[in-house]
C-alpha cells in the first residue's frame, strides 16, 4: 500500500513501516523555540535536572515575539534563554533576526526532516516537504533533552488545487477559503497535503503561507511535496545541497480528497472572531478600519511587502488608518531596503518596525484600543488577540491590506491593482 508524505517520513525516522493511526517515537532533525515558550521549558528542564541538549547543533532559540524587549520581565526572559543556550551549546537568533518560522525556513529546514517547534505555527516548515509541528513547552523540553519525541501517525487530507489564481487572489485567499470550507477543527489531528497545478506553480513564499495556516484548521502538519521550486529556494539561500525529493506514493491512501478550482476563487476576508468565519470581499467591503498591519510569519515576506509597496506606489495611506509594517526577518528587511520597498512604505505613511512578531500576538508595536478595527495579514483573529478585548481583527491578503490602507475601509484589491 502506498504512503502519504507523513507516513513516509515517520516510517524513515522510526525505522518501522508505519501507517496512519500508529504511534511512533522519532529522532528529531531540528528543534526551535520562540522567546515566549522557551523560558518555561528552561525552568522545567532545570527543575527536573535534565538541562542538556541531546543535539545542541540542531537546537535553536529565537527571539521574536518580544523584541526588542518591551518590558523588564521579557528582558529577563531573554537573559535566561541566552544563558541557557550558552550552557547547553545551542544557537541563539537574537533581537532583530526575525520571526522563528521565517528564520527556520531561510536557514534550517530541509526536505524530509522532522521538526518540532515551541509555537503552533511551526507547521509553516511543511512547505519544504518536511514534517513540522508545534508543541508546548514540556514537549519541547523533553525533545531538547532526549533528541526525540512521540507522535501519532496522522491521517492525511489531500487538497488538490488546479488552475491559475485570478488577479487579486493570493495564497492567503486560498488558505482562508479552505479553512472557511472545512472549519477551524476540520483537520484536527490530520496532515493537510497541498498539491495540484496551482501549488506546483506557486513559489515557496506562497507555500509557506499555506502551510503556516494549516494549524488554523486544527492540523498537525501542512505539507507540500518538494520540487524544483524548493530546490531553487534552497539554492538562493545557500543550501542547495539540502535538497531531496519528497513526494507521496502515487497510490497513497488519503482519508479524503478536496478538489479546488483556483480559477473560481475571489479575494476573501476572515471576519472576527474566528479564523473560519470567512466572507467574500463584497460582504465586508466598506467596513472602516483603524489600523492595517502587514507582517507576521504568514505574510511578512519580501514578496508581500513588495506587493503592498507596489499598490501604495507614490500614494499615501488614508489619514484615519494607521499602517504598521514589520518585515518577517533580517534577510527580508535587507532585501526590502535594497529594493527601495521600505522607503516607499515609509513615504506612504507606514510605521516600519524591526523584524519580529509585533502586534500579531498583542504584545507590542501596534496593539489595538477599545473597539478598534484592524485589517491584518496575520493568521488569527480571536477576541483580544491584538489588544483590547473589544477590538476586531480582520484577516486578509497583503493586497487587500494595501487597498484598505489607501481607502481607510476594507477595499477589494482588484480595484487598485
Amino acid at each position: 500500500m502506498g504512503k502519504t508524505i507523513a507516513e513516509k517520513i515517520l516510517s524513515e525516522h522510526s525505522g518501522k513501516d508505519v501507517s496512519a493511526g500508529d504511534y511512533v517515537v522519532v529522532n528529531l532533525d531540528f528543534m526551535y523555540m520562540p522567546d515566549t515558550s522557551s523560558p518555561l521549558t528552561i525552568d522545567l528542564l532545570r527543575e527536573f535536572k535534565m538541562d542538556r541538549a541531546q543535539y545542541p547543533e540542531r537546537t535553536v532559540f529565537m527571539f521574536d515575539h518580544c523584541v526588542p524587549a518591551p518590558r523588564m520581565e521579557m528582558a529577563n526572559w531573554h537573559k535566561k534563554v541566552r544563558q541557557f543556550a550558552e550552557q547547553v551549546g545551542a544557537k541563539v537568533h537574537d533581537v532583530g533576526d526575525g520571526i522563528l518560522h521565517q528564520v527556520a525556513a531561510e536557514s534550517y529546514i530541509e526536505p524530509g526532516w522532522i521538526v518540532v517547534g515551541g509555537d503552533s505555527h511551526t507547521c509553516t516548515g511543511g512547505a519544504f516537504g518536511a514534517l513540522a509541528t508545534g508543541m508546548g513547552s514540556t514537549d519541547l523540553g523533553v525533545a531538547i533533552a532526549q533528541g526525540k519525541t512521540w507522535m501519532r501517525v496522522p491521517e492525511t487530507l489531500k487538497f488538490q488545487v488546479g488552475g491559475e489564481m485570478p488577479r487579486g487572489v493570493y495564497p492567503k485567499d486560498l488558505i482562508l477559503y479552505i479553512i472557511g470550507q472545512i472549519t477551524a477543527d476540520g483537520a484536527t489531528y490530520h496532515a493537510m497535503e497541498f498539491c495540484g497545478s496551482t501549488i506546483e506553480t506557486m513559489d515557496m513564499e506562497g507555500r509557506l503561507t499555506l502551510c503556516n495556516m494549516a494549524v488554523e484548521a486544527g492540523a498537525k502538519f501542512g505539507i507540500v511535496a518538494s520540487d524544483e521550486k524548493t530546490r531553487e529556494f534552497l539554492r538562493t539561500h545557500g543550501r542547495e545541497k539540502a535538497y531531496r525529493e519528497v513526494r507521496p506514493d502515487p497510490d497513497a491512501v488519503y482519508e479524503k480528497t478536496f478538489e479546488i478550482e483556483a480559477t473560481t476563487l475571489t479575494p476573501v476576508v476572515s471576519h472576527p472572531h474566528q479564523v473560519d468565519n470567512v466572507k467574500s470581499i463584497e460582504e465586508v467591503e466598506g467596513t472602516s478600519i483603524d489600523q492595517v498591519f502587514v507582517g507576521s510569519c504568514t505574510n511578512g515576506r519580501a514578496g508581500d511587502l513588495r506587493l503592498v509597496a507596489s499598490i501604495l506606489n507614490g500614494k499615501k495611506r488614508h489619514p484615519h488608518t494607521r499602517l504598521v509594517v514589520i518585515p518577517a526577518s533580517r534577510r527580508v528587511y535587507l532585501e526590502c531596503l535594497e529594493e527601495g520597498i521600505i522607503k516607499a512604505l515609509v513615504q506612504a505613511g507606514a510605521a516600519v518596525n524591526s523584524p519580529g512578531c509585533g502586534p500579531c500576538a498583542g504584545i507590542h508595536l501596534g496593539i489595538l484600543g477599545e473597539n478598534e478595527r484592524c485589517l491584518s495579514t496575520t493568521n488569527r483573529n480571536f477576541h483580544g488577540r491584538m489588544g483590547d478585548p473589544s477590538s476586531f481583527v480582520y484577516l486578509a491578503s497583503p493586497a487587500t491590506a494595501a487597498a484598505t490602507a489607501l481607502h481607510g475601509k476594507i477595499t477589494d484589491p482588484r480595484k487598485v491593482l
Binding site: 518555561l40 508543541m135 514540556t138 484536527t188 486544527g218 498583542g362 483580544g384
Partner: protein
C-alpha cells in the same frame, strides 16, 4: 481516580487566548499570579467563581490557537479538576496530558452550568448527579494514560528514562 466538582460551562472554540489572555503575557514567568486570571478572556469574573476541584466544561475544539502550555498549566494550578469538551485542539490536548491535567472527551450537551459531576477516569464515565445521567467517554490512548498517571511527561521520563510507548 474519581474526581468530583461542579460544572462551569463554556461554549465552542475556547482558545488559549481565552484561557490565558494576551494582556497577561508579562506574567508568564509567574505562574501562580497568571493562574489568578484563568479563563478571564472567556468570562471575566470566572477566577472568583469556582471552587477547587470544579470542572471546566467546553464545547467543540477546546484549546485551539497558540501552543502556550501556560493555558492548561494555569487551569491545573488554579485548582480546577479537569476539562470536559466535545473535542480538543491537538496541541492543547498534548500539553494538558504533559502537565497532568485530565481531559475528558464527551457529549457536554448533557451537562448544564452548576451540575454536580463525578468523573471516573478509569471507567470512562461522567456521572451527572444533578440530573441522574451517566455520560460515557472513551478513555485516552494507554500511552497517554501512563503519562497522566506518572504526573506528566517530565515525571514520566524521569521515572522510565524514555517514552514508554509500547
Amino acid at each position: 481516580m474519581i474526581l468530583r466538582g461542579k460544572a462551569w460551562k463554556f461554549g465552542d472554540g475556547i482558545s488559549t487566548d481565552h484561557v490565558q489572555p494576551g494582556k497577561y503575557f508579562h506574567l508568564r514567568g509567574n505562574l501562580p499570579e497568571l493562574a489568578k486570571h484563568v479563563l478571564e478572556g472567556a468570562r471575566e469574573d470566572f477566577p472568583a467563581l469556582f471552587a477547587p476541584g470544579d470542572f471546566v466544561v467546553g464545547g467543540r475544539n477546546f484549546g485551539l490557537g497558540s501552543s502556550r502550555e501556560h493555558a492548561p498549566t494555569i487551569i491545573k494550578l488554579a485548582g480546577l479538576g479537569a476539562v470536559l469538551a466535545k473535542s480538543f485542539a491537538r496541541i492543547f490536548f498534548r500539553n494538558a496530558i504533559n502537565v497532568g491535567l485530565p481531559l475528558v472527551i464527551c457529549d457536554t450537551d448533557q451537562i448544564q452550568e452548576g451540575d454536580e459531576l463525578e468523573v471516573d477516569l478509569e471507567a470512562g464515565i461522567v456521572r451527572n448527579t444533578s440530573r441522574g445521567a451517566e455520560i460515557p467517554f472513551s478513555p485516552l490512548p494507554p500511552f497517554m494514560v501512563r503519562i497522566l498517571n506518572d504526573g506528566g511527561l517530565f515525571y514520566h521520563i524521569r521515572k522510565h528514562g524514555d517514552f514508554q510507548i509500547e
